[in-house]
C-alpha cells in the first residue's frame, strides 16, 4: 500500500519540532531577543505562498482577487524579512567582548 505524502510532511514537521527544541535550548539567554527577531524574519518564508498567490492566473492577463491578496502578502512578508534580518544584524553588531588591555 502506498503511503500518503501527507505522512512524509508530518514526519518532517514532527522531527523539525524536535530539532527546534534542542537548537533553541542551546541558544544563550543573552541572545533571546535576537532569537525572537530572527525567528520572526524566517517565519516570513511564508512569502513563498504569497509568490504563488501573486502569480496565480487562469488566463495570464487579468489581475485577479487572489493576485491582489498575493501582492499585499508579499509586501507584509517583505517588511518582516528586511526588518527582521536587519534589526537582528543591528543587535548582533552591538554584542562585543571585553576590550583587551593594550599593554598586555
Amino acid at each position: 500500500m502506498e503511503i500518503d505524502p501527507f505522512i512524509f510532511r508530518l514526519s518532517i514537521f514532527i522531527l523539525s519540532i524536535f530539532i527546534g527544541y534542542f537548537v533553541v535550548w542551546s541558544v544563550t539567554p543573552s541572545l533571546h531577543t535576537p532569537l525572537m527577531s530572527v525567528t520572526n524574519a524566517i517565519s516570513s518564508v511564508i512569502i513563498v505562498g504569497a509568490i504563488i498567490a501573486s502569480f496565480s492566473s487562469l488566463d495570464g492577463s487579468n489581475i485577479s482577487f487572489s493576485n491582489m491578496l498575493g501582492f499585499v502578502a508579499v509586501t507584509l512578508a517583505a517588511i518582516n524579512i528586511f526588518g527582521g534580518f536587519l534589526v537582528t544584524q543591528r543587535m548582533l553588531q552591538m554584542y562585543k567582548k571585553k576590550e583587551k588591555k593594550k599593554n598586555k
Binding site: 537548537v23 533571546h32 524566517i42 505562498g49 504569497a50 502578502a73
Partner: protein
C-alpha cells in the same frame, strides 16, 4: 524548475534556517547565523519565483510590492530604538499572521494555481490544513496587534476582564473547531469567512485580559503562534521550507514562553487566563501602611561606598530602560573600573519586557557581554560582593520569594542581593513592584535607598566618583 529540484532547494532553505538558530548559541557565531538565515530566505524566494509561471504584469506588481515592503522594513530596522524592541517584535508577528491569512484566502479562491483542486472542491486534507492555517494566522494577527498597542502605550496595560469571558472564549474555540470540521462537507464562502472572523475575535479576546507585566510571556506565545500559522500554510501548500520553519519558530516561541513563566514562577495557564498584576491596581491593595525606618542616602554616599568597594554587582531592571539610564550606568562602571573595582552585571530572566531585552540594552550601551551574567551563573557571587547596585529592579531581589509561602511571588527565583555587604536601591519612591509586595530589603541596616530618577542618580554618582 522541476518539482523535485525545488523541493530539494526548499529543504536546503530549512537547513540554513536551522543553522541560523544554531548560530545564536554564542555571540561570536551569531552573525554567521544571521548570514545563513538571509541566504536561506533569498534561496526560498528565488526558487519560488522560478517555480511559477511568470506573467509580465504580475512581475512588475510583485517587484513593486517587494520593494515597498523592503524599504519600510529597512527604515523600521534602522530607526527603532532598542527599548522599543518588544512592540516591534509584536508588530512583526501581526504581519506574519496577516500574511498567512491572505495566502490562505488566496488559496481558497484560486486553489487550482496552488494545485489543491478547484474552487469549493478543494481536497479534504488541504481544506483542513487551510482552515487551521487561516485560523491560527488570524489569532496571531489580532492578538499581536493588542500586544503591540499595550506595549506601545496606545491602550492601557491593565487587564480588561468582563463576566463570562472564559465561557465566551471557550464557546468561540468550539465554534472554530466545528467550523474547520464543517468545511470538509461544505466549503461555502460564508463558512470560510465566519471561521476567519471568529478567529480574529478570539485573538483579540485572549490578549485583552493579560496585564502589561505579563507581556514577555505573551510576545513569546505569539511568536510561537506565528510559527504554527506558517506551518499550517506549509502543509496546505505542501512546502517543506514552510513546514520546517513553522516547526522551528513554533517550538522556539514555546520554549521562550516556558522560560518566562518559570522566571516568574507562574503557570502558563495562569498567565493566559489573565487578570493578574497590573502596575497600579495590584499594588494598591497590599501596601502596608506601617512606617518602618528606612535609610536613605544621596549620590555622594553611594559614590563613596562603591569607590571603596573591591567588587560591585549591578542589577538592572526595566526601570533602568524606562529612565534610559544604561549609558550613564556604563559611564559609572568605567569610572569604577579605573578605581580597580571589579564590576559585573546580573540579569534576571524576566528583567525587561521581552526575553533577553536587558542584555540588548546593555549591549547597546557598549557593555561587553562577558561582564553580563545570568541568574544561575552569578547568584553565588553575591555573598562575596561588597556592593549591589540595584537600578530599576525590585521584585526580582525580594527575599520574601524564598521565605513566605503566602506571598504571590513565592517560589520565583531571585537574585540574592541580600547577601551582599551593602545594597544600594535606586528607586523613585517606596512603592512596591508590580507584584504588589513590600520588599523587606528596604528596611535592612545594610541597605541604602537612593530616591531619584535612575538616570539622574547614576549621573550624579558619576560626578562624585571624580
Amino acid at each position: 524548475m522541476s518539482a523535485n529540484l525545488s523541493s530539494i532547494l526548499f529543504l536546503i532553505t530549512g537547513v540554513l534556517f536551522i543553522l541560523a538558530l544554531r548560530g545564536l548559541s554564542s555571540p561570536e557565531t551569531s552573525r554567521m547565523g544571521n548570514f545563513f538565515g538571509i541566504t536561506g530566505m533569498i534561496l526560498a524566494i528565488v526558487v519560488s519565483i522560478l517555480s511559477v509561471d511568470i506573467f509580465f504584469n504580475n512581475l512588475i506588481y510583485f517587484i513593486v510590492a517587494l520593494s515597498i515592503g523592503g524599504i519600510i522594513g529597512g527604515i523600521i530596522a534602522f530607526k527603532i530604538p532598542m527599548t522599543a524592541m518588544p512592540q516591534l517584535v509584536a508588530g512583526f508577528h501581526s504581519l506574519v499572521g496577516l500574511a498567512a491569512v491572505l495566502v490562505a484566502v488566496s488559496a481558497y479562491y484560486s486553489p487550482d494555481s496552488f494545485g489543491l483542486g478547484t474552487f469549493q472542491d478543494i481536497k479534504t486534507a488541504s481544506i483542513i490544513e487551510m482552515g487551521l492555517g487561516v485560523s491560527i494566522g488570524a489569532i496571531t494577527f489580532t492578538g499581536s496587534i493588542i500586544a503591540f498597542m499595550k506595549l506601545q502605550g496606545l491602550m492601557s496595560g491593565s487587564p480588561i476582564t468582563f463576566p463570562g469571558q472564559h465561557y465566551l472564549n471557550a464557546l468561540l474555540g468550539i465554534l472554530i473547531i466545528s467550523l474547520i470540521g464543517y468545511l470538509i462537507v461544505n466549503q461555502s464562502t460564508q463558512i470560510f469567512w465566519i471561521l476567519i472572523i471568529a478567529s480574529l475575535l478570539i485573538g483579540f479576546l485572549i490578549i485583552i485580559p493579560i496585564g502589561g507585566a505579563d507581556m514577555p510571556v505573551v510576545i513569546s506565545m505569539l511568536n510561537s503562534y506565528s510559527g504554527w500559522a506558517a506551518a499550517g500554510i506549509g502543509f496546505t501548500l505542501e512546502n517543506t521550507a514552510l513546514i520546517i520553519t513553522g516547526a522551528l519558530v513554533g517550538s522556539s516561541g514555546a520554549i521562550l514562553s516556558y522560560i518566562m513563566c518559570k522566571g516568574m514562577n507562574r503557570s502558563f495557564l495562569n498567565v493566559i487566563l489573565g487578570g493578574f498584576g497590573t502596575d497600579s491596581s495590584a499594588s494598591a491593595k497590599t501596601v502596608k501602611e506601617e512606617q518602618k525606618p528606612v535609610k536613605s542616602g544621596n549620590a555622594e554616599d553611594a559614590a563613596f561606598l562603591m569607590k571603596n568597594a573591591s567588587s560591585v554587582i549591578i542589577v538592572p531592571g526595566y526601570g533602568m530602560a524606562v529612565a534610559q539610564a544604561q549609558h550613564a550606568l556604563r559611564e559609572m562602571v568605567d569610572k569604577l573600573k579605573k578605581n580597580d573595582v571589579k564590576v559585573s552585571y546580573a540579569i534576571h530572566p524576566v528583567a525587561g519586557r521581552m526575553p533577553g531585552h536587558m542584555n540588548v540594552l546593555l549591549a547597546e550601551a557598549n557593555v561587553p557581554y562577558d561582564e553580563v551574567f545570568e541568574l544561575d551563573d552569578i547568584n553565588n557571587d553575591f555573598a562575596n560582593t561588597d556592593v549591589a547596585y540595584v537600578i530599576g529592579a525590585n521584585d526580582v531581589t525580594n527575599p520574601v520569594a524564598k521565605t513566605d509561602p503566602k506571598s504571590p511571588i513565592f517560589g520565583m527565583p531571585i537574585l540574592d542581593v541580600e547577601k551582599c555587604k551593602s545594597v544600594l536601591f535606586v528607586k523613585r519612591s517606596m512603592s512596591p513592584g508590580y507584584a504588589g509586595v513590600d520588599n523587606e530589603l528596604f528596611y535592612r541596616d545594610n541597605t541604602l535607598m537612593l530616591f531619584a530618577d535612575a538616570k539622574k542618580m547614576t549621573e550624579d554618582i558619576v560626578k562624585h566618583l571624580d
